[in-house]
Symmetry: D2
């Protein structure tokens, strides 16, 4: 799937969250923006852990769909996430997803997340998705 | 901290999310209920991954505060979560948090999550929190 | 498979390591002893990380075989391990493995490890195994 | 520390394992070779999980010492490792370690491992080390 198709797929299948995310690149790596809003924040104005987890999860999901097509039923089986630094207040987050293995039943990869414009990542997640039989 | 103090702490420090959670036990293990609402759901009526991640994170945070007192600045450094089964539709989730190590700078434990009334867990998370110097 | 069958399976399929391990229980949980020897130690007499990883991995593998029979080709796909405390010098380690999900293609569980005779665990691991199609 | 100092540190502090490992690069990333021998193998000639875990652990440890100097007491607190493919038989393994965060008390990074000469990685590990107070 190409960038526009991925964005359209999100809008159609996940209307609750589609407006939060914008696919920015869909090449060897997939880049996804979280448009940060009030509901993503914790006291102090920093993005919450669950919002970063959700960003990593959607970024890797789209990196998988990019390769296998619109399989809505692929599901996360494991995510290990390290929180490295506090995200900058008032900034969107940018995630970059990398595919490490695309097997018949499992896909494995990782995602780095940055506050927009910063050098150093705020979180790193490793994810495994289970791919349904076709 | 006791059960009522933990619930009051949530209300005061995290008003955005406090009404979603109810502390049900605060003994050797801590039990926390996620009162499932529309915003926690994915298509098909199942609770989303980020909502389960958030539940595990808050449950272990409260298990930590129970032991060290109201330290708002303790932060998650790592969470590894396995999604085991689809949560039952229309059910609250119950998390049970266990402390495995409470050190000077790190606390480590795990959390099991069930759909209320079910035998088999829907998710299992291992978490590490960093405790600020006092 | 019963306790004696598991021990015999280890001897036959993994002769390089079978004499290091002794199955101590094979009930709802599986208990496995690592008979600590010189080659498991780091400077200071403490058991090395890779030896604890290996113990967790074999313990969960046996807990899986106990349920599905002697399937030599099941393989570890993920292990997240927390090292909690330094193991006591001159003690065997005891691992207890718990099955959280036994699916058609994936098995997920966790393992706690203690120095023999101690109250507090030295390590906790969550593992996923991939089960080959039959 | 420079490449030769890291190799000398290994020889002095970890004589049991130093001859297994060769530091190949110590720049922005650190590359470490595991010289595969009989004791690293499982039936079928493939490198065992604990040997890959050990390689990831030592590679990240050296990437940390490279930055903070010869602190023998830094210890692994967490490792999450994904096993992606079977290593090629009769090949050394090459690990490349990347530092994602070097804090005052914690260092976090990841390690990719390849069979020498292959394109696709055999394992990916995320590690956290605790740095002792100085």
């Amino acid at each position: 799937m190409k960038l526009e198709e991925l964005q359209a797929f999100l809008r159609q299948e996940f209307p609750q969250v589609a407006e939060e995310f914008r696919v920015e690149e869909a090449g060897e790596e997939l880049a996804l923006r979280l448009i940060v809003a009030e509901r993503h924040l914790r006291p102090g104005g920093t993005v919450s852990g669950p919002a970063m987890f959700g960003l990593a999860d959607v970024a890797f999901y789209l990196a998988l769909l990019q390769r296998i097509g619109p399989v809505a039923l692929a599901v996360t089986t494991n995510c290990s996430i390290d929180f490295l630094r506090k995200p900058a207040a008032g900034c969107d987050l940018i995630a970059r997803a990398r595919m490490l293995k695309l097997g018949r039943v499992l896909a494995v990869g990782d995602v780095l997340i940055w506050s927009e414009g910063m050098d150093q990542p705020v979180a790193h997640a490793s994810l495994t998705y289970s791919i349904p039989p076709r």
